[in-house]
């Protein structure tokens, strides 16, 4: 059942621009570095000897911001598609449980975000190769800094999905998203328990995996709370 719901959800977002945004996000993040290295490669190279490290650092400065704004946009976009045509009512009237509807939405957005993380991984790797950053390619780090932010931002996804589905006024989840991105940008000043800090993979123990694990656990918890609330609410 859930697979069929998911298929319907993917059908609904066809030609609406969500896939386009999924691609623009990671391509944009690496494209910014293309400009950065295109303009001042010599200067950047003169700063340090570990060019790969520096390159990954430059890319991952933008990853948390892009992924959080991506979550805000995708969840709100998805909810707007349902709102615009009053489709929530029709969807709920089908012989499916509201839990499954919510799960399907969550899974769909997660899939889009995961795809964009994979694209980020490939783009980071291949553009890095063309720069001549050195023979020692830190594969593990490239994978970490491309994929872990996805897991670390699952709590934000849980929160934004809940807001986007329960608010008829999409300005509310969007505003929360703008505040979130300010937190993500100020990540280094925030204590470790703040969920918006997690996509930066920074913590006091220097263990990026920890942010991914915390993200999965907390994301699951927020998802369950959101789903329970969605189930109890009247459909608009």
């Amino acid at each position: 059942m859930i697979l069929r719901l998911l298929a319907v959800d993917f059908l609904k977002i066809r030609r609406k621009g969500l896939w386009l945004l999924t691609f623009i996000g990671p391509i944009g993040v690496v494209a910014l570095q293309m400009v950065n290295y295109g303009v001042r490669k010599d200067y950047l190279f003169s700063l340090t000897d570990d060019h790969w490290q520096q390159y990954i650092g430059n890319v991952s400065a933008f990853t948390p911001l892009a992924i959080i704004l991506g979550i805000v946009i995708l969840t709100s976009f998805m909810a707007s598609i349902e709102d615009e045509t009053n489709a929530w009512k029709q969807l709920i009237a089908l012989p499916v449980s509201k839990r499954e509807v919510y799960l399907s939405k969550f899974t769909m957005i997660s899939c889009l975000l995961f795809v964009s993380s994979i694209i980020l991984l490939l783009m980071t790797y291949f553009y890095g190769l063309t720069l001549g950053l050195g023979e020692d390619i830190p594969y593990l780090q490239i994978i970490q800094y491309s994929l872990l932010p996805f897991f670390a931002s699952l709590p934000v996804l849980g929160l934004q999905l809940w807001l986007a589905t329960v608010c008829t006024n999409q300005a509310i989840p969007t505003t929360v998203g703008v505040i979130s991105v300010i937190f993500a940008y100020s990540a280094m000043y925030l204590p470790d328990w703040v969920i918006w800090k997690w996509p930066s993979l920074d913590n006091q123990w220097d263990q990026p995996y920890l942010n991914g694990l915390m993200g999965i656990a907390m994301g699951l918890a927020i998802y369950l709370i959101g789903m329970t609330d969605f189930k109890r609410r009247d459909v608009k």
């Binding site: 623009i24 303009v39 911001l65 300005a171 300010i182």
Partner: protein, 241 residues
């Protein structure tokens, strides 16, 4: 014109937008709280303002003005509101201008509340240095002037798309690169989305009234304003409702 203004105000007055106005001062408190450090400046206020203004003007201000512009078009996008509004004896040009002025007014209010939050923060933290009113006014007004083209583009996009997320994503796509672009002395001055930062950057050039040269203000801010404002204006004249 005044009556359109009043009717727009009625639509907004009891809406959620009033709460939206309190977000900038809260962000101001947060940013002021986390900014400290030594930047070779004796006055504590200046240290706070340089650092808080940076994040505020780089990311927050361009993004939130997009939300406000989207909000202003929300009632019209629902249940055929454009039809109702334009069936009234009003010209489209005046409706467009009213909405634009209203967004500018809300953004100015946000700027002033942000300034207020800085004063409150300083009082809490017990900063005794003299408050640099003169440069602060210039940056608050400068930030406002610099967002005026961005507001015009967001209003234009919000009129095109019924979906709230679509104009917001355009806003994000243009705003995020400014984090990088403003570092460039060659390209920074020409990027419209970087101007709020440059005009609120109180450490910047200090010879003019604003923190950027007049030519840059006229060419980049003025030029992009003309393109975005009249683009939106012409679009709205032809928009099928």
């Amino acid at each position: 014109m005044l009556s359109i203004m009043r009717s727009e105000w009625y639509k907004l007055r009891k809406s959620w937008v009033i709460w939206l106005l309190f977000i900038p001062p809260l962000i101001g408190l947060f940013l002021g709280q986390i900014s400290m450090g030594d930047i070779g400046e004796a006055n504590q206020w200046i240290i706070k303002l340089v650092m808080a203004n940076a994040t505020y003007a780089l990311l927050f201000l361009p993004l939130i003005t997009g939300v406000v512009a989207g909000f202003i078009c929300r009632y019209e996008h629902q249940e055929g509101g454009w039809k109702q509004l334009l069936a009234l004896p009003v010209t489209r040009g005046k409706v467009y201008l009213t909405k634009y002025i209203l967004v500018l007014f809300l953004v100015l209010t946000m700027q002033l509340l942000y300034l207020g939050s800085m004063l409150i923060l300083g009082a809490i933290q017990g900063i005794t240095d003299p408050f640099p009113w003169e440069i602060v006014w210039r940056s608050i007004l400068g930030g406002w002037v610099a967002t005026s083209p961005l507001v015009a583009l967001q209003l234009w996009m919000s009129m095109i798309f019924k979906n709230f997320a679509a104009p917001f994503s355009i806003n994000v796509i243009f705003t995020l690169p400014s984090l990088l672009v403003i570092n460039s002395e060659r390209f920074g001055p020409y990027y419209p989305w970087g101007q709020p930062f440059l005009m609120m950057n109180i450490g910047g050039e200090g010879d003019n009234f604003f923190f950027i040269p007049w030519e840059q203000l006229l060419m980049v801010v003025g030029g992009s304003f003309i393109v975005f404002f009249f683009g939106g204006y012409l679009y709205f004249q032809r928009k099928a409702v």
